[in-house]
């Protein structure tokens, strides 16, 4: 019996040391240690026939043999697993091969641009508000201090749906809608589509996206307008860009200013991009006209404010060196993918 046991142990230890695959090892384990018909259990079955005095000694012997077999099998397993790991480690994969196709989609460059503007305004505590694109003459013109027959309507050449109803020519109507809904102080950014009667070519579009910032509060000055807009331009175009405020005329602001940012191509020295002037036009701005505040039932003696309007397309064009406004609505994959 004990010879038999010893023989089995020797055989298994030898075979375990020689085994070359995990499958063979598992087969060996089943052959020897299987619950039903395993060779060890067959040897152990002899235990019943033994005289009781010898049973205990043989039992100990058998258990010791079993644990040596198990440990030999375990050693073999770790030898094989290590070998497998070593084997896999020896392989080299060319990580410079082309990656799989991207799984995510993308937002449009105009949204990406707008999000950047929004992030700036929100960092200053401004709220983002929207409004309808079909507007009344009142909100598009009268409420902005542009009465009927005012020559300034010329520059806001507008699409009409019927007399008195139009497609908004700027997002400024959202100013008045918000001021009507909320008492001062307010600080808002109104982004959205606007429409002006124009042809569609590289520089003009009859549809564009505007952002308009408005802050009305106690003690707001032209200095605050300059500070805010200059900070915005640095945020959008880079720390080294300078901002210039040129006197201008808008019926809804006074004093009014056209905002230019120094050309990034020539750093303000004049080049083809900026038409030699060193400056790129950004948008219109100014101190909210007292008439506009009065129409919103804000007291212009207590509250003053600034407003600033700018095209999202314009920002994207200046930031990315895009020279054709039509690219934004053509949606060519070769274009959009660059900004995805």
């Amino acid at each position: 019996m004990s010879d038999q046991l010893q023989q089995l142990e020797n055989e298994v230890i030898a075979r375990a040391a020689a085994v070359t695959s995990l499958d063979d090892l598992e087969a060996l384990r089943t052959e020897v240690l299987g619950r039903k018909g395993g060779r060890l259990s067959l040897v152990m079955a002899g235990l019943a026939k033994m005289p009781p005095a010898e049973r205990a000694a043989f039992g100990r012997l058998a258990n010791d043999a079993k644990s040596r077999i198990e440990s030999a099998l375990a050693d073999a397993r770790s030898r094989l697993e290590n070998a497998a790991v070593e084997g896999s480690l020896a392989r080299t994969y060319d990580v410079t091969l082309t990656a799989g196709p991207p799984r995510t989609g993308s937002v449009h460059i105009l949204r990406r641009t707008l999000d950047d503007v929004v992030a700036f305004f929100r960092s200053r505590g401004f709220a983002i508000v929207t409004g309808p694109e079909v507007e009344t003459e009142y909100y598009n013109f009268e409420a902005l201090n542009i009465p009927a027959d005012h020559p300034a309507r010329e520059g806001l050449d507008t699409f009409y749906l019927d007399p008195g109803t139009l497609l908004r020519a700027h997002t400024s109507p959202v100013q008045m809608r918000t001021m009507e809904a909320y008492p001062p102080p307010i600080a808002i950014l109104a982004p959205g589509k606007c429409y002006r009667r124009d042809s569609l070519d590289a520089r003009h579009s009859f549809q564009f996206h505007q952002i308009e910032g408005l802050q009305v509060d106690r003690g707001i000055t032209f200095g605050h307008l300059k500070g805010f807009v200059s900070d915005l331009c640095r945020h959008l175009y880079g720390e080294n860009r300078r901002t210039r405020f040129r006197p201008s005329y808008f019926p809804f602001t006074e004093p009014s200013a056209e905002v230019d940012v120094s050309c990034g191509v020539c750093d303000g020295n004049g080049c083809r991009t900026c038409g030699g002037s060193g400056w790129l036009e950004m948008g219109g701005s100014g101190m909210v006209h007292p008439n506009v505040l009065r129409m919103a039932k804000y007291d212009p003696e207590i509250f003053t404010g600034w407003a600033f309007g700018l095209g999202v397309e314009r920002i994207a064009m200046v930031r990315h060196g895009i020279d054709d406004i039509r690219l934004f609505v053509e949606n060519d994959p070769a274009f959009l993918e660059q900004f995805a």
Partner: protein
């Protein structure tokens, strides 16, 4: 406004480079868009031809002896239009001029030739007599050598004599500054900016003793506020002198004849539009300003007969309308080169009336552009004097002046508080600084705590204190105002509409959708593309009344056509699958089905949900996605791509609602009738989705496996609700698959709903994963495969408990739908 610097220099000593002038004007709000250099070849002097003889060796050449002041030059010329005694421009040896006939010499692009000492057929030539094109002068001059006036001083620099040269400025004059639609106005601003003296125009009165044979009358004061008239007799008309031709050319106006040129010249110099009549062609006692009566017509100077809308401001004589007031003269009484007696009209019209008429007639003339801005009442007299001086130079004998209508009042004053100025600008200027700053542009002021500012007559744009604030800021320079940081005060403005759209766009991008932006203003092409499918376009559209082109006829009723157009383009260029989306407002008339369905839910004037029904239009925010796959993965029962797209729609809805919503079968005209559904949330439709109608897919050259969805943003939550935590499972559950056979019209949703409602305590969830139809099942039947998840809260579920639960569910399905387990 095109302003030649040489003309500005008549009124301001601006001896600085053009670039500086441009910067000064720009900093004062008169933006110089462009500086156009005038090509002025140098070393050109006035020469007098003393002798002109035949060339000994050439029939067509002449040899001249030309006095150029310091010497006499022998010059050979081929010109036929010169004679001894003429004064002509001489290009000295070394000068570079443009080649004769060089097509765009006036634009400065012509080919250049340099004058050399040379011998022509054996005769020495020391210079060249120049034609207009050789000097890059405009086409109004005759061909051949330019013959100058006899008064031109011999030997003098040609450009000095011509009072021409320097650059032109293209100035963007803001709408509130009609005073700067003139050389005088621009010169005033330039003088203030350069801090140099400004020369007031000193036109003599130019008034004669004899009464004017023709009179003026204002019949309708709502059209015309002031009307000046004056007659000039004995005029020599003819061509303008060279300096006038050149000035007008530089200002962008073509010289016609002296009289016409004078009226254009005065308008550019003073901003006052004038109209000249041939006095002999005016019928009756003179001219009257009134509104047109119904049916009246006039033939304007361009030879076009125009029918006038009732109320159009007109000038009429005894016989009828002779011109559209302030906008365009009539041909009947126009001055010509033969005119000897002229009647001058210097008017002030009501701006709004001129503007309306000009827009209605489509005549945006220089005169209209000035009148519509409400010119000051003082200006007609200034314009008249400027014209009188020039007409008298052409021999005109002035009559007395006739003058009717309003007269200029006393100068206006505006009170401006220096404290308010500083409060708006964020500056700390003293009252004295403010006063001193605005004085150079003619604003005299006095006082301390409140400045009394006297407004010069030409500044009609200055009406209140805020206008003075701007003048101070402009005068002291915007650059001088210190930047301050600006941060909002606390506020509670609802931003949810914007946030909703942003959240959805981000989710869709994560799901593989690419965002596009298309034109919301659409037209014939969009409809034609859609109708190629044979499907009808949306019948009720929100139309534009004044489109510029056929592609601007209406605002889009849906995002789908726009996205499909882009999808068609991408499908050819990018690998499948294709996923695109767009967000934006869409528009339907209030009498459309959509608007009727939603009208009850909307209170006009407010848009908490982002939909607007004001202004006769229903407008609401929408989101449309399109997905296209190379192969249709659909059998009789299952469309795998449709379910994938539905899953994406549910993901998007979950982003905002925290739940995917309920799906029901629901056909749409643009979807495959058997593959379209709605997603509802608390009884409201929040999305529709489906496989594109195969005809629509084909019309856009998209594959059959093309799908679309539209979200109703106005019915979706604006921000995701804060959901309470559901207890996490503590014990393992089990899943059981079963296939049940039911009638074809029973939907998977029905079965799942019944399973949920079967009252099984261990029920956790149910999903459906397959459907089969075929001969083994029988006609009119289908087999639906369901997975039921079961779990206990207080211990591991046993097989027996799971089986028991499943039996209850199967029984419920049998009871409700006659379902039996598939064999």
């Amino acid at each position: 406004m095109r302003a030649p610097i040489s003309w500005l220099k008549d009124f301001v000593a601006a001896d600085v480079p053009a670039q500086t002038i441009a910067e000064v004007l720009t900093a004062r709000g008169l933006t110089v868009d462009d500086i156009v250099p005038q090509p002025t070849p140098q070393h050109i002097v006035v020469g007098r031809i003393e002798k002109l003889e035949r060339h000994p060796n050439a029939d067509r050449l002449l040899v001249g002896s030309v006095d150029v002041g310091r010497e006499k030059l022998q010059i050979v010329t081929g010109a036929a239009n010169v004679a001894a005694g003429n004064k002509v421009p001489i290009a000295l040896v070394g000068a570079s001029v443009f080649e004769h006939g060089s097509s765009d010499a006036a634009a400065g692009h012509g080919r250049i030739k340099t004058i050399l000492k040379s011998a022509l057929r054996g005769v020495e030539s020391n210079g060249m007599m120049c034609s207009a094109t050789e000097l890059a002068l405009p086409g109004e001059f005759d061909d051949g050598i330019l013959i100058m006036e006899d008064s031109a001083p011999v030997g003098e620099d040609f450009w000095r004599v011509a009072r021409f040269g320097d650059a032109l400025l293209d100035v963007d004059v803001p709408a509130n500054r009609p005073d700067c639609l003139s050389i005088i106005g621009l010169a005033r601003e330039l003088a203030a900016g350069l801090k140099v003296a400004w020369r007031e125009p000193d036109y003599p009165p130019g008034i004669g003793e004899a009464p004017s044979p023709l009179g003026v009358e204002i019949a309708d004061p709502s059209v015309c506020r002031r009307l000046l008239g004056q007659t000039f007799t004995g005029l020599r008309g003819g061509r303008s002198p060279m300096w006038m031709t050149l000035r007008l050319h530089a200002a962008g106006v073509r010289s016609l004849n002296y009289l016409v040129d004078v009226s254009n010249f005065v308008q550019i110099e003073t901003a006052q539009p004038l109209h000249f009549y041939d006095a002999k062609l005016v019928r009756g006692k003179g001219i009257v300003a009134r509104a047109a009566r119904a049916g009246e017509k006039v033939v304007t100077l361009d030879g076009v007969e125009r029918e006038l809308l009732e109320g159009t401001p007109v000038i009429a004589d005894g016989e009828g309308v002779v011109g559209v007031a302030g906008i365009f003269g009539g041909v009947r009484s126009a001055v010509t080169e033969k005119t000897t007696d002229l009647f001058l009209e210097s008017p002030n019209f009501v701006g709004a009336r001129i503007r309306r008429a000009s827009l209605a007639l489509g005549l945006r003339t220089e005169g209209a552009a000035r009148h519509e801005k409400n010119l000051p009442l003082e200006l007609p007299e200034l314009g008249r004097r400027a014209a009188a001086r020039l007409l008298m130079q052409a021999g005109g004998r002035p009559s007395a002046v006739v003058d009717v209508g309003e007269k200029p009042g006393a100068p206006r004053t505006i009170s401006a508080r220096p404290a308010r100025v500083n409060a708006l600008l964020g500056s700390d200027y003293t009252a004295q600084q403010m006063s001193a700053a605005i004085a150079p542009i003619g604003l005299r002021s006095s006082g301390g705590a409140s400045l009394k500012v006297e407004i010069p007559w030409w500044r009609i744009d200055l009406a209140d204190e805020t206008d003075v604030v701007e003048e101070v800021a402009r005068a002291l320079g915007y650059d001088g105002i210190k930047e301050r940081p600006s941060v909002a005060s606390p506020q509670t403005i609802d931003e949810s509409l914007f946030d909703q759209e942003s959240a959805l766009a981000q989710t869709l991008a994560t799901l593989g959708y690419h965002e596009v932006v298309t034109l919301a203003l659409q037209g014939t092409r969009v409809i034609a593309d859609w109708e190629r499918s044979g499907l009808p376009f949306w019948p009720k559209l929100v139309g534009i009344t004044n489109p510029l082109s056929d592609e601007q006829r209406f605002v889009r009723p849906s995002l789908l056509p726009g996205v499909l157009t882009i999808a068609a383009r991408w499908w050819k260029k990018t690998p499948a699958p294709l996923r695109l989306f767009e967000t934006g407002h869409i528009f339907r008339p209030l009498d459309s089905e959509k608007a009727k369905c939603s009208a009850g839910a909307l209170a006009p004037g407010t848009a908490p949900d982002g939909a607007y029904s004001e202004n006769g239009v229903f407008e609401w925010p929408s989101l449309c996605g399109v997905a296209a796959f190379a192969e249709l993965e659909a059998d009789a029962a299952i469309d795998r791509h449709l379910l994938a797209v539905k899953g994406e729609v549910e993901s998007v809805i979950t982003t905002l609602a925290g739940t995917p919503g309920e799906t029901t079968q629901h056909p749409r005209f643009y979807f495959h009738p058997g593959a379209a559904g709605n997603v509802t949330l608390e009884g409201k439709v929040v999305a529709k989705f489906g496989r594109l109608h195969p005809r629509l897919a084909r019309a856009y050259e998209l594959p059959e496996a093309s799908y679309a969805f539209v979200l109703y943003l106005e019915n979706l939550p604006k921000t995701r609700p804060v959901l309470p935590l559901k207890a996490l499972p503590r014990f393992p559950g089990t899943k059981r698959d079963l296939a049940v056979v039911v009638a074809e019209n029973v939907s998977a949703a029905d079965l799942m709903q019944a399973a949920r409602g079967a009252g099984v305590a261990t029920f956790e969830s149910v999903s459906s994963f397959d459907e089969y139809r075929g001969p083994q099942i029988g006609a009119g039947k289908k087999s639906v495969a369901l997975t039921v998840s079961l779990r206990k809260a207080d211990g591991t579920i046993t097989d027996a408990e799971a089986d028991a639960g499943l039996r209850v569910i199967i029984e419920a399905l049998r009871e409700k739908f006659g379902a039996h387990l598939r064999e």
